[in-house]
Amino acid sequence: MSSIVKNINLHLICASNLLPQKEMNNCFISTIEELNLKIVKNKLVFANGQSIKLTVGERIVLHTDSRQVESIQSQIDNIRNLFNKRATVAQKNYLNELNEQAVQSKRQSYDSIELQKLIDEIDKKKAESITASKIQQLPSCEALVEELKISAVNKGYEVIQTNVKDNIQLQFVRRQY
């Protein structure tokens, strides 16, 4: 072994590819506004002054120290639940938009190869969003595991999963030939 990371808890708020980045950010901002939370630099600040780290990129993840997680867990659950409600509506709109884009593309006079390329891109976005929606509905821990696996596969790792008691063990392997 060479390096170890421990004592952190990760809380997945939004799975990757559920929504376009702008819509994902809008849903998150309206969620934290409704809950009277603030973002200061890369931290989410609660009304009682507690703060946790926030990573917003292709997905949204909250990062707490294991020692503070108990006192803050219910608030994190509130964020996730409220975000999920907003994201469900936003995702329906997003899928409708994609369907509309497909219809519009067919109406326009693209050549058949170009049209097929557009339709394939739209179908890919729809499939990714539907898969992300299934991940989003999982309990936080399982959703996090699925997102870790997706990230690892996208970065060229082979994933081996084993479940031991209440823990999920993932082994990300980069083969050396």
């Binding site: 060479s2 990371v5 083969r175």
Partner: protein, 65 residues
């Protein structure tokens, strides 16, 4: 050649324990950052003795005919 491995244990309360295998030196930090940069900002790492060893050098031999 030893495969490069990152072991991740996720508990029910989403607690993460993460360790690298067969990496030496800064390569393990780079691997963790690459894999987890969209999940968290890496600020706390414990290093084992292997961290302070130099990573194996990649040697490529080319024979010109």
């Amino acid at each position: 050649m030893n495969d490069k491995i990152i072991n991740v244990t996720v508990s029910k309360d989403s607690k993460i324990y993460l360790e690298t295998e067969n990496y030496k030196g800064e390569a393990c930090v780079d691997a963790i950052k690459e894999l987890f940069d969209s999940f968290f900002e890496l600020d706390k790492l414990e290093h084992t003795s292997e961290f302070y060893e130099k990573d194996e050098e990649l040697k490529i031999e080319v024979s010109l005919k």
